[in-house]
């Protein structure tokens, strides 16, 4: 299955506002953002740092709640979910990849996946099989017993990606996944995300400031500036 999406809106934000109180003043990270992502689409969100990219991803992933506006994923408004349902959404509905990998330093690559599966309710032989499969997909199965400190940045990010897809979520959110990596490694990681998108049909929202990279893998690019979308472009040939 190649890019593009099938036209059905999978993820939608309406008038999304997120304000942060910084001392006496209020900072508006997102300022009435309207965005629609179709099922199976690879969307890149471009923007300089401080443009609200990460905040957007956190809201999409149910890690944060908007000040106002709605996030609708697969027809459900995240704001209407109970804490339990929100946890369930994080468990099954979404996978996160972060710029700093965020692997648990005391756990091996394999264990980092296992602990995620554990919270998601999968363990035992089924869990091990899935973890091995995910590590193989990202190409680090030979490093599965290494701790993050024993892995290169690229390998750590691969493990993090494996963790994000180990439960086969329909939505993958990547927050500057290449920000800490050199050019060549960054390339590999982005192509890996693209491969997952193509093979599994996962809807991907990639946040980055690297325009060139976004253009190579994304079906569509939107620009975020000061918490608003400023025009978009379809990169599908």
């Amino acid at each position: 299955m190649d890019g593009g999406g099938n036209g059905e809106v999978f993820l939608e934000t309406r008038g999304l506002v997120r304000e942060f109180r910084v001392g006496p003043s209020v900072v508006r990270a997102l300022d009435g953002l309207d965005l629609a992502v179709t099922r199976g689409e690879f969307l890149a969100v471009l923007g300089v740092s401080g443009s609200g990219k990460s905040t957007l991803l956190h809201l999409l992933g149910g890690l944060d709640t908007p000040t106002s506006g709605d996030v609708v994923v697969a027809g459900r408004d995240l704001a209407s979910l109970s804490p339990r349902e929100r946890t369930l959404y994080r468990r099954t509905g979404v996978g996160f990849v972060f710029q700093s990998y965020y692997l648990v330093p005391s756990l091996t690559a394999e264990e980092n996946l296992a602990v995620a599966l554990l919270f998601q309710g999968t363990y035992g032989p089924a869990g091990r099989r899935r973890a091995a499969e995910a590590l193989r997909r990202v190409g680090v199965e030979h490093r599965r017993t290494h701790r993050p400190s024993q892995l290169s940045g690229g390998e750590q990010q691969r493990v993090a990606i494996a963790r994000a897809i180990v439960h086969q979520p329909p939505l993958l959110l990547a927050d500057e996944p290449t920000g800490n990596l050199d050019r060549a490694t960054a390339e590999e990681v982005v192509m890996l995300l693209h491969g997952i998108h193509c093979d599994l049909g996962t809807t991907v929202v990639l946040v980055t400031h690297d325009r060139e990279m976004a253009e190579r893998v994304a079906d569509r690019i939107v620009h975020l500036r000061d918490g608003r979308l400023v025009g978009g472009e379809d990169t599908t040939p």
Partner: protein, 429 residues
């Protein structure tokens, strides 16, 4: 999440700061060790105080004396009354308790002054008499002129060992005043030939049986001059005939300890006064309950202090693991999962400390117990004391208590971890 998965994850969390976790667990160890050794000490003291009573079966005895029962009736404690008592259901034996101080025992040239005590021959007087018998055997049923000799008399009578005394025939000389029909008393002197069939050693603290005692069958005891003098005098003073006096005291031995109280009630209803060791023991037990509570309170204070250590360690752990907690939340851990995780860590510290406490408590008990026994030996005491008592329930309760106290201490840190905002937790490095 399955419990053991949680435990493995919690162990992983504890593993990363082994020194800190170890020190915290050591705190719990000291707390629970103090608790377990103190309670064990209280229990040991109580057992030591009660053991002789239980061993001798004295708890199954009701002392019956004439006098006012609980309905105003008075009965004379004579042979007929004793037969009646013996016939009560649940009674194993009833016999007059007759003592005569100052009887003389002769083994050829050697002699000793002793207290003669009448025994029922059909049942062993003592619950576990075997433990007390140093040589020989208890009375066979039947009234033969036989005697059990206190070990304290052996030397005076020229015996070198208990075994040597068994089988010898002693002369028991007794004299005293016996009431006649009128208000006069006759002086009597009698000699009895008695065969020693056994020698007993008796802890000094046990009441009722003289330290320098010679136990003879009740039938023989009734023949000893002087035993009726004192009750007869009492009757004369009360303006009654001197003859027909009963005994001052009788022992009713119940078959089952559970029947003791109902039987005591019944005997009182017949018009007798009763006494049991249970009453005395009850007072002693009240004392021990207070002592238990005090010592347990001291131990609990130690454990609570240790619990503060657990809370502190976990709180530090939560602060240090902000990012990890954020990661767990991001990959789908619920607030409940995180609470469970940190409570499991707290519980494991408590478990470790609890078992450590058992070991420590045992070491303390062993050390102090050895010291006490060495001290006692230096004073010539040959018995060994079990100063500490560790019943199984105490061990289980100690471990359970340290786990529970630690888990309670973990509640605040765990809730704090669960309430963390995942975004802020992730950003914090």
């Amino acid at each position: 999440m399955r419990l053991w998965r949680l435990v493995i994850l919690a162990l992983g969390g504890l593993r990363r700061t082994p020194l800190r976790v170890g020190l915290t667990a050591l705190g719990v160890t000291i707390g629970s060790g103090a608790l377990v050794s103190m309670v064990a000490f209280a229990l040991g003291m109580q057992q030591m105080a009660e053991a002789p009573f239980e061993m001798l079966g004295l708890l199954n005895n009701i002392e019956v004396s004439p006098g006012e029962g609980n309905n105003g009736k008075t009965r004379t404690l004579d042979d007929a009354a004793i037969d009646e008592l013996a016939a009560l259901p649940g009674v194993e034996a009833a016999y007059p308790h007759i003592r005569a101080a100052g009887v003389k025992l002769f083994n050829g040239e050697k002699s000793a002054s002793a207290t003669a005590v009448g025994m029922a021959t059909q049942v062993p007087m003592l619950g576990e008499a075997d433990q007390l018998l140093l040589a020989g055997h208890f009375f066979d049923s039947g009234e033969k002129p036989e005697a059990l000799l206190s070990a304290a008399l052996l030397r005076d009578l020229g015996f070198e060992s208990p075994q040597q005394a068994v089988g010898t025939v002693l002369t028991l000389k007794a004299d005293g005043l016996a009431p006649t029909d009128t208000e006069t008393f006759a002086y009597e002197r009698k000699d009895f030939a008695i065969t020693v069939i056994g020698v007993y050693g008796m802890p000094r603290m046990v009441p009722g049986v003289g330290h320098r005692g010679v136990l003879v069958p009740v039938g023989l005891m009734k023949e000893i001059p002087g035993i009726r003098a004192s009750p007869a005098m009492a009757r004369l003073r009360a303006g009654k005939s001197a003859t027909g006096a009963g005994y001052e005291k009788a022992i009713v031995r119940v078959e089952h300890f559970a029947d003791l109280l109902p039987l005591e009630e019944r005997i009182r209803a017949m018009g007798f006064e009763t006494r049991t060791l249970l009453e005395r023991l009850d007072k002693m037990r009240t004392f021990f309950v207070v002592m238990d509570a005090l010592l347990a309170a001291v131990g609990t204070v130690a454990l609570v202090v240790a619990a503060l250590g657990v809370a502190n360690t976990l709180l530090m752990s939560v602060l240090e693991r902000y990012q990890e907690i954020g990661i767990y939340k991001a990959v789908g851990a619920s607030a409940g999962d995180l609470v469970a995780l940190f409570l499991a860590e707290a519980g494991l510290v408590g478990l470790l400390g609890g078992f450590g406490g058992l070991l420590l408590g045992w070491l303390v008990a062993w050390g102090l117990g050895t010291a006490v026994n060495l001290y006692a030996r230096s004073y010539g005491v040959t018995r060994t004391f079990d100063v500490f008592s560790f019943p199984l329930w105490l061990l289980a309760a100690t471990v359970a208590f340290s786990v529970v106290v630690s888990i309670v201490a973990g509640v605040y840190p765990a809730r704090r971890a669960a309430r963390l905002d995942p975004i802020r937790a992730l950003r914090r490095v």
